[in-house]
């Protein structure tokens, strides 16, 4: 087992921030090249005229998932050392619902708004300013939300354990569902009137 490299000290910790910049560049480049610097292109997923977000998002998640499966299976990476976001049931759901509401008004998510800022979108810059204000508001009102923020903690739970499925079965199912969604999305795109943006 050699990976993950930094937690296993295969590379000095001092390199971590250098990799942060390089990996961030790859992240920003692929998002912008895919069209995520445009709010109206992003919103196409919800109205059916452009499913680029759905296609890129699920292809990316599945590609990374397969890579992690494979490297773990071959013994090249210890997947049990990877960070899993702790699962607090209510805050995960409520936070997601609030983010979705913000998404429908703002047309960006945080990562995509930075891509918009980088190429000169004023609306993305204002969205980023909103992010700052929203995070400030949450931090100041933390006392009010502390209860829900910390309630129903389930640790670093995995989705296949939660629904009682084998990891490989769930992974395969996810790939089939994604491919089905890609065909469905392409079919809907052809039916829906084009939107010029």
């Amino acid at each position: 087992m050699v990976a993950p490299l930094i937690p296993l000290e295969q590379i000095p910790e001092a390199w971590n921030n250098v990799f942060a910049v390089l990996l961030g560049m790859g992240f920003g480049f692929t998002l912008e090249s895919s069209g995520f610097s445009s709010s109206r292109k992003i919103m196409g997923t919800f109205f059916g005229y452009d499913f680029v977000v759905l296609k890129v998002f699920f292809t990316a998640a599945i590609t990374a998932m397969i890579g992690i499966f494979y490297f773990d299976y071959m013994g090249w990476m210890d997947a049990s050392l990877l960070y899993i976001n702790p699962y607090y049931v209510y805050s995960a759901i409520l936070g997601g619902l609030i983010m979705g509401f913000g998404f429908s008004l703002g047309g960006f998510c945080p990562g995509t708004s930075f891509c918009g800022v980088a190429i000169g979108k004023i609306d993305a810059l204002v969205f980023s300013l909103g992010l700052f204000l929203g995070i400030l508001l949450f931090s100041e009102l933390y006392g009010l939300f502390e209860g829900i923020y910390n309630s129903h903690f389930m640790g670093g739970s995995k989705i296949y354990d939660l629904i009682g499925m084998k990891e490989a079965v769930f992974g395969a199912l996810l790939i089939f569902v994604a491919i089905g969604m890609f065909f469905g999305a392409t079919w809907i795109e052809k039916k829906v009137d084009k939107v010029i943006y």
Binding site: V21, G26, F71, G96, S104, L105, L137, K158
Partner: protein, 172 residues
């Protein structure tokens, strides 16, 4: 390939490239990508600079403060500097560098900017409650099949789908 700003790479190619970046991030650092965390670092730093005692006594800011280093010395802050550079490079390559406010012809720029500000504030608020946004919670979480990431992802897209139709006039 046209370089007038209208060219985008194939979405499946984009997805595979993004997946490889995400996989490399896990392979090297043991963690996924993120975005809202960098804004949180700048909020914590700003509040700590203006009102140090307030920040140290707060139940939230204090979790991200340490005596020996600034909250800006954070992996996600460096990653976001990279995102800005990478997106700028892509915009330059495909001819998309242009200062403008993008909005539907049915609404004014002013209305678009007000909606963007409120939308950003809600997104920022929600990202703190859910401990991550579309990048850190949803995308990175899905790659490792985390319950938190996948539940948050479904909540984000489900709610965005519903509210988008309510606010349809902002978009189409």
């Amino acid at each position: 390939m046209k370089r007038d700003g209208t060219f985008y790479i194939n979405p499946y190619l984009g997805g595979i490239l993004l997946g490889l970046v995400l996989f490399s991030t896990y392979y090297i650092t043991g963690r996924g990508l993120g975005a809202s965390g960098a804004v949180k670092s700048s909020v914590v730093t700003t509040v700590h600079a203006i009102a140090p005692e307030h920040a140290e006594q707060s139940g939230y800011y204090s979790q991200f403060l340490s005596d020996d280093e600034s909250p800006m010395n954070n992996w996600l802050v460096f990653e976001i500097l990279g995102v800005l550079a990478g997106a700028f490079f892509s915009g330059a390559l495909w001819g998309r560098l242009k200062v403008k406010t993008e909005h539907s012809p049915k609404i004014s720029s002013r209305k678009r900017l007000i909606a963007a500000l409120i939308g950003g504030a809600l997104f920022g608020f929600g990202s703190q409650l859910a401990r991550g946004c579309t990048s850190g919670a949803a995308l990175s979480g899905m790659a490792v099949l985390s319950s938190s990431g996948i539940i948050t992802m479904m909540a984000i897209f489900g709610s965005a789908y519903l509210f988008s139709w309510i606010f349809k006039r902002l978009w189409i």
